[in-house]
Symmetry: C2
Subunit: 384 residues, 2 copies
Amino acid sequence: MKVGIVGCGQLSRMLALAGWPMGFRFSFLADPDEPVRCIEGLGSVVRLDTTMTARDVYGGLGNPDVITVERESVNVPLLRQLKVFCPVYPDPDIVWAIQNRHREKTLVAGLGIPLSPWEVFREREPVQEAITRIGGLPVVIKSTEEGYDGHNQWIIDSRETLEAFEKEREKLLQGPAAKDPHEWIVEQKIAFDREISVIGARSPDGNILIYTPGENSHNQGILVHSVIPAPDLSGPLHNKARDYIYRLLQETGYVGVLAVECFVAGNELLVNELAPRVHNSGHWTIDGAATSQFENHLRAITSLPLGNTAHQGGVIGMVNLLGQKHSDDSQAPDQLITQGTYLHWYNKTSRPGRKLGHLNILAENEEELSGSFKYLQEAQATIP
Amino acid sequence: MKVGIVGCGQLSRMLALAGWPMGFRFSFLADPDEPVRCIEGLGSVVRLDTTMTARDVYGGLGNPDVITVERESVNVPLLRQLKVFCPVYPDPDIVWAIQNRHREKTLVAGLGIPLSPWEVFREREPVQEAITRIGGLPVVIKSTEEGYDGHNQWIIDSRETLEAFEKEREKLLQGPAAKDPHEWIVEQKIAFDREISVIGARSPDGNILIYTPGENSHNQGILVHSVIPAPDLSGPLHNKARDYIYRLLQETGYVGVLAVECFVAGNELLVNELAPRVHNSGHWTIDGAATSQFENHLRAITSLPLGNTAHQGGVIGMVNLLGQKHSDDSQAPDQLITQGTYLHWYNKTSRPGRKLGHLNILAENEEELSGSFKYLQEAQATIP
């Protein structure tokens, strides 16, 4: 089975490492400036340039049996053209919907799945009216595209923060990177108790399997760690999480792995965002589930039966290993490995805050896990 | 961490695939004619030739941090010379002991661990006396070296089979491949109930972790499938298995993964043979244990803490996928994948009886597992 992947980051790396044992072959499509260290050695790389036709890309990738993506920020028209040559999963239409927050929220709301109250505004449209309509401050403003890990987001909780956003908007609209149209959504800033995420896979024949929801902790928009199962998640909330992802997978005819991030607010579960791909909050599945999200994504897109998604006993933790400083040296922090921890290292160059790897922790209980988290927090300072 | 592996077969492949996620780098030492398809793409390959010094080999392997082996049939003098440059685990001395059945049995017996009664004979020494000393027919004669998967073994249960062996011995001693000295061991053919194996790992600091013993079924000397845990293994037998491997690891100062195959005969547990490496009967650990034998071998030889060896709940099966005919086409039999099965494919050319891959099966109970075995037995005929 030959799989072409759009993107050359750690998600592509882990997809390839999940497929190699099964005898799968991989090729990767890189943007003009994209670093490829993560996937070096795992398959051939085609570097996209503006002169390439879809046929060139398909041939360059070695005529794969199927093409998939490791990110939502991709060239959707190209993906659509590639469908002439082989299946592209998830379908470019669903990637197109999710890569824009306006379309994404419209999709979720259209299925009757709850979201924080939101409004959209464009260009120089007044934002104050939209804020009033969703119930006043505090709110979060997000650009509809190109937002990830907290980028292009503004928390507005005062006249001052609103004015600061307005100034930045004006600069953006006049700046050299201005494109038409500029669009933002404004969301009620939910006083949520916590964030959970749920990951599921659907195969072309309609089979759906869902992983145990986990709880995520962020710092400045970047995932720090996840705990699986999400501690003390009530039965009704658990069922809601499963119901949301089931409907999203089923109603959109989705193929592959989908991730859904949700806010828990009392007895309410509100969708925050979707990712049409394997997801950071599912990295625990490599060591903590019968079948990893990466293997299940590959099984789904190649029409193989999905693998069991049951999580192992005990409590599972996932900790992102973030770069501390600039360094081209990418030595794996082997010293973090213990009897119950599993290191996954991406071979990247280090930059402050960059995700360089992660550790999965298989613990007996939550107490043992939080001990590991504490130890790791201190140990992280040793990462280059 | 850079690891050099002597050998380019499926065990090297699975070692590399276990190390890549941790950021390990690999290089492989191939015999002059050794096929390398299993490890293609997973690291650089050095092909041994008679002009090479140990320094040449070490440099060719890219100055690894540690060197290990995927088979016991290796050039031990070369391994000893490589110790000048980096650690070689397991130690060449223990590989040397185990690569010869006479030395192997002497080692096991020396630790007071039970074996089938055995005798050794060389060249044209009379075999009848040895047979009488160990209690008469039936016996098994095995050459002391170069025996694996049933090769170079003779079951002697009658005057006719003994005469046939004598003829073959005479031919061997006169043949072009004759080397000095020829040596065989003759073993009482135990009317054993079944064969189990136990796998353990020891790190340089003396930490030892042991996997759950499994039961193995062979056909003409080749492992067909394993079931883990070994069904209905009594407490005392279970403890004996753990005790044997613990003593072997501890008393020899072993570093890495060791496999011990044993015969169960009533309440007795007799060692059949050792393997100073990851072992076919441990392939289930990739999907069925918290840490695979491959990752634990790498952890051990790089002085990292061993990973938890607990097996997952339920019953785990491992089925070898054997080639049916000659074919250079090595298409993975994806059709064998189900929700509870995991395919591991080695990318080899197919030959009748050759191990081309294996399937791990995670089942609820033994009944479900034997259903899978039956299905797979039929499905195997479809493998190239």
